[in-house]
C-alpha cells in the first residue's frame, strides 16, 4: 500500500479522534497535537496505537525505535505530524 502523507495524516487523525471520543477528550486534535502532553497518552498507549497502524498498512514500522529516540531528546514528546512523518516514511520504504 502506497499512501501520500496527507492520506496518512487523515487516517491517523481519524483514528485518534475516534478513540478520543472514548476518553472524554473535548479538545481539537490536529497535526500539532502532542501525544503525551496533549492527549495524555502513555508509552503502552502509543505502542498499541502503533500496532494498529502497522496492522492497517501491513508494513513494518519501528515505532519502538521512534519512541526511544523521543525519550532521549530534551523535549520528549511527539506531535501528530511528526508521528505521521515517521509512519509515512516507513510505509513507503524510505525509513531510516
Amino acid at each position: 500500500m502506497s499512501e501520500s502523507k496527507p492520506e496518512v495524516l487523515a487516517y491517523v487523525l481519524n483514528l485518534l479522534r475516534e478513540l478520543a471520543e472514548d476518553w472524554d477528550y473535548e479538545g481539537d486534535i490536529n497535526a500539532d497535537t502532542l501525544l503525551f502532553r496533549g492527549l495524555n497518552l502513555q508509552s503502552l498507549d502509543v505502542v498499541v496505537l502503533g500496532n494498529s497502524i502497522v496492522e492497517y498498512y501491513n508494513k513494518p514500522i519501528p515505532y519502538a525505535d521512534f519512541l526511544a529516540e523521543i525519550g532521549q531528546r530534551e523535549f520528549n514528546d511527539v506531535s501528530v505530524s511528526e508521528w505521521v512523518e515517521f509512519t509515512h516514511s516507513h510505509i513507503n520504504g524510505n525509513g531510516a
Binding site: Q42, L44, V48, N51, P60, G71, Q72
Partner: protein, 533 residues
Amino acid sequence: MSVRTLLIGVDGATFTVLDPLMEAGLMPRLAGLVADGVRAELRTIVPALTPPAWTSLMTGRRPGHHGIFDFFQKSSADSEKIEFATHKDVLTPTIWRLANEAGLSATVLNFPLMVPAPALNGHVVAGWLPWRQLRLGCHPSDLYGRLKGLPSFNVRELAMDMALEAKATEGAAEEEFEEWVRLHTRREAQWLMVAEHLLETEPSDLFAVLFDGPDKIGHLLWRYIDPGLWPAAPDAEMVRIRDLCHDYFRRLDEGIGRLVDLAGPGATVIIASDHGFGATTEVFHINTWLAEHGYLVWRDDVTLNDEGGTLGMGHLSRHIHWFDWEHTLAYASTPTSNGIHIVVASEPGGPGVPPAEYEAFRARLMADLHRFRDPASGEPIVTEIHTREEAFAGAAMALAPDLTLVLRDGGLVSILPADDPLKPRPQPEGTHRPLGVFIAAGPEFRAGATVGELSILDVAPVTLYCLGLGVPADFEGRVPGEILAPPYLAAHPVAQAPATTAAAPKENEAEGELDPESESALLARLMELGYLD
C-alpha cells in the same frame, strides 16, 4: 443459536483457595459444577506465566511452537532487544480460529494476545489492554460502540487503567489493599456485564471469557487467601481484608452461575486456569548472581538496590541501561519468566560467547547455578534448570531464553542489582505455581469424578471435542479418556483432524522492535498493571 461450549478462564485459580471456599459454601455454583462434572489439577507449561500459558491453552501447543514466551520477548534470535508480544506473534492457530474454520462462531472476552483484535466470526474484546485503546481490541468494529451503550459500562474499569492499577500496587501499603480487591470486584462485574449482554443477544457456539482477579489478588494478598498462611490470632484488619477477598470470590461464583444459566442447559462448561498459586518468601537477584560469577558486567555508574528486596519501578525502568553489553555474557531481561539469555558472538572476536563454545559455556553456567546454596541451610536455591531444547523445542525456539530456572520457593527472579543475590521478603507474597484447575460439566463428562493431573495442553483438544470437532494431529495434548463418560465416549469417539499449519517464525523482523529505553518504560507500565514482580 445457542452456546455449545462455555469456556471460563480463571487466571491463577488454584484448588488451594477454591476448595476451602467451596467447602464453606461461598462458591456454591462452582461446587455444583464439580459435583455434576469432573475435576483435576491442571499442570501448566514452562514457564508458568500468563501470556505463554493462556496461549498454550488457546492453541494446544507449547511455547516453542506457538511462539509466546513472556509479556516481552526477544525480537529476533540474535538480538538483546525485546518487544511487547501481540497476537501477530502467535504462530499456531487458536481454537477460536479452528472453530471458525469448521463453521462455528466464537466469542472471546478478556484473553491476552488478542490485540489488534483478530477478525473472528464472533466477537472479541481483548484483555490486558489499556482502556484508551480498548476500541482497537474489539471485533467486529461496531462492538465497542454497542458495549458503550450498556448501562454501567465503564471502560476504565473493564480494561486496564494505569492510574488505578498503580495506586493499588505501588508500595503495596496495607491501606491500599481494600481498594485493590474492590477494583477487581468491579472489573469482574464489568466483564460479566459484557458477557451476559453477548450471551443474551448474540451467543456463539464457543463462548469464552476470562477473569483475572484471582491472579491480581493472589499476588498482593496471598497471605489473606491461603488458609495455610492464616495466623492463629489474626487482627481485625486482617479479617476484614480476608472477608473482602472472600466476597470477591463469592461474587465471581455468582457470575459464573449466571453465565452457566444464560448458556443454557445444553451447554458444556469448562473452567480452567493458566497456572496455580503459592507463596514466595525470598527474592533471587539473578543478575546480581550472574555478575558475582563473572557472567554479567554492570556499567560503572550502576548503584545497588538498597531497598531490601522490594523491586521499585524506578529501578526496573532503568535496568536495561545497567548492563555493559561489551562484556556481558548472560543476563535476565524480564522478571516474569525466570529466563536467562546467553549472548552469542555474532562475529569472530565480537562481544559474547563464541558459537563453538556455547554448549560448554551453558553447561558451566548451569553447574554454577546448581551449586548456589542458601548460606544458612545449605539448600539449593535453583531446583530445576530447563534448557531451551528441553522446554521450548519447536519452530520458535530461537526466541526463547537459553535457560529457564525453577526456584525453591516457586518464585520469580528479580532482575535488579542488589548487595546480596538472595534476600528474604518481609512478608510472604503470592507467585505462580505449576498446578492450576480444571473443572468440566456436561454430557461428555463423568459426574462427580476427580481424576489425576491433566495438562493445560489438554484443554484445547477437549474444547474442540466438545464442539464435535476433530483434534489436529499436531496438538500436543489429548482428550483424556478418564474425564469422559464412557457411554458418551462410545457414541462419540475422539476424531483426529489434519495437522494445523504453523506460520513461519519471525526472522530478523524489525516491526515493533523495542530498544532498551522503550522496553524499560513498558516494563514499568506492566509493573503498574500488577503483573511484574
